[in-house]
């Protein structure tokens, strides 16, 4: 190995080491100062650091496009400590990305040609904060976990979210279902994207639930701002602690109601609490949790608004609760509870 090559390999090693140190949790001010000293010691250092950052970013991208069986990599004996319902899905994000007309793009590309080179390095910057992940909670198995910034997420059953934390922001996307966020304080803003909405927040606890016709955003602590995720980011509403906003998917029309915090967080403890909610949404919530499904047979029954507080797994109580509603009747079939609008009462009872 030539002398020059040995030296350059040595700088690579140092750059990788600094890069890895940055991501250590107990990274001190003194270390930051030493890192700065190293960085400005030579342009070679800086160039190498950028190159390493770029590779780090590209590794994340590359691995996201590969099917990697992490459990197999780690080996069977260690997997028991892992949550069994974390499914890492490869997601392809390259295809649908750019919608610029091709001609316009080409011209801009030319303009950006030189910038591209350094930029492709500094792209490493966005990607090198390689905190991204995809989380899925299966049917009947809600879960709670912590994101790298300390934000705690309660993910309801049959729900999925992905996160991507960069240098400049924390972005979470709720693909389906329901999740509560106890947001850790961080200088980077956090935004949850769901159903064409953006819920922005700094240091609060809130819940986002994608229901059939609307998104429901409930704040149990602090305050969030909801903006439209398209175009100029029109503000939809500000929601404070103790409030729930229901935003229509189609026109983003909104209604804000007061809700107590216990209602909002009840599902973390496996309770289903509903205040003046349509039966079809209540049914969805039960069905996330149980193998026995609740089927609502007609639209009138589905639209019936109910208030109650039940254990998510206690189907007997659920059935009793539904039977107690004067306009509903239920019957049990295999693996299902059917509920429908009560048919006309028998003539004999009527006459009395």
């Amino acid at each position: 190995m030539s002398e020059a090559k040995r030296k350059s390999a040595c700088i690579t090693q140092e750059a990788a080491n600094w890069h890895a140190l940055q991501r250590q949790e107990d990274w001190s001010r003194t270390q930051q100062a030493r890192f700065m000293d190293w960085l400005v010691a030579s342009p070679e250092h800086l160039r190498e650091y950028l190159a390493i950052s770029r590779i780090a970013g590209e590794l994340g991208e590359t691995m996201r496009g590969m099917a990697i069986d992490l459990d197999a990599l780690i080996g069977g004996d260690l997997t028991r400590s892992a949550p069994d319902n974390v499914v890492a899905l490869p997601f392809a994000r390259s295809l649908a990305r750019s919608k610029e007309p091709p001609r316009h793009r080409t011209r801009l590309l030319r303009i950006a040609a030189a910038a591209a080179i350094l930029l492709s390095l500094s792209v490493g910057m966005y990607l090198s904060w390689p905190q991204s992940g995809h989380y899925v909670a299966e049917h009947g198995a809600p879960r709670t976990f912590e994101l790298p910034d300390g934000t705690v997420v309660h993910l309801n059953a049959e729900s999925a979210l992905s996160m991507r934390f960069t240098l400049l922001g924390r972005r979470i996307e709720l693909a389906r279902g329901q999740a509560s966020f106890i947001v850790a304080h961080d200088r980077r803003p956090l935004a949850v994207h769901a159903a064409g909405l953006q819920i922005r927040d700094i240091g609060t606890t809130f819940d986002v639930s994608l229901q059939r016709e609307q998104a429901r955003i409930s704040v149990s602590e602090g305050r969030v701002r909801i903006v439209s995720d398209s175009g100029e980011g029109r503000r939809v509403a500000d929601v404070r602690a103790g409030q729930s906003a229901q935003v229509d998917y189609l026109d983003h029309s909104i209604s804000v109601s007061h809700d107590d915090v216990e209602t909002m967080t009840a599902w973390w403890q496996g309770r289903i609490v509903f205040r003046d909610e349509p039966l079809r949404d209540v049914a969805d919530r039960f069905n996330r949790m149980n193998a026995v499904r609740l089927y609502v047979q007609d639209a009138a029954a589905g639209a019936l608004r109910l208030t109650g507080n039940l254990s998510a797994h206690d189907l007997d109580s659920l059935r009793a609760f539904l039977e107690a509603q004067p306009t509903l009747e239920t019957f049990v079939t295999e693996h299902a509870i059917q509920v429908r609008t009560r048919t006309v009462q028998p003539a004999s009872t009527r006459r009395q």
Binding site: A16, M63, L70, I111, A116, S120
Partner: protein, 156 residues
């Protein structure tokens, strides 16, 4: 490897200028306010990105209309559009092959770190090793990939 990349792009000088200029700005900031930069990495990336943007704008003789400037910024913000797609695909393939050549443990660490965004502590717990060892795997994985890409470019 970077050299090869630049030559193919025919923009060697500009790129080198950008690295040098970034370096000088960082150095100046460092001398002016030593120790005051709380997060050198974030600072470095901000400087580099700003310079790249400035240069992109400067290369146009006439001032850009505002609307186009916004487009440009948007364009610069997405890595897809600024980088040659073929180049990217090639690098990605190379990285895939390199990943396969790494020891399983190192590979597992890289997956958890860069794909899943787990902290060293979380990775350490999962693998039953110390966070220090996790960091070592990260350093090794990155170094191997970087050196292999350098060698590949020099061999061309």
């Amino acid at each position: 490897m970077l050299h090869g990349f630049f030559v193919r792009r025919g923009a060697n000088h500009e790129a080198e200028d950008l690295v040098q200029e970034t370096y000088l700005r960082l150095l100046r900031a460092h001398q002016r306010q030593a120790g005051a930069i709380a997060n050198p990495e974030a600072y470095l990336f901000t400087v580099a990105l700003n310079l790249a943007r400035e240069q992109a704008v400067r290369r146009r003789r006439s001032p850009l209309p505002i609307e186009e400037l916004e487009n440009l910024t948007a364009l610069l913000a997405t890595e897809e559009s600024v980088e040659d797609v073929a180049e990217r695909a090639q690098r990605r393939q190379h990285l895939q092959a390199l990943l396969g050549s790494l020891p399983e443990r190192t590979r597992a660490v890289l997956v958890m770190q860069y794909r899943d965004g787990l902290s060293y502590k979380q990775i350490a717990e999962r693998l039953n090793i110390s966070p220090h060892m996790v960091k070592k795997h990260v350093v090794r994985g990155l170094s191997v990939c970087r050196r292999a890409l350098v060698d590949a470019a020099e061999g061309e």
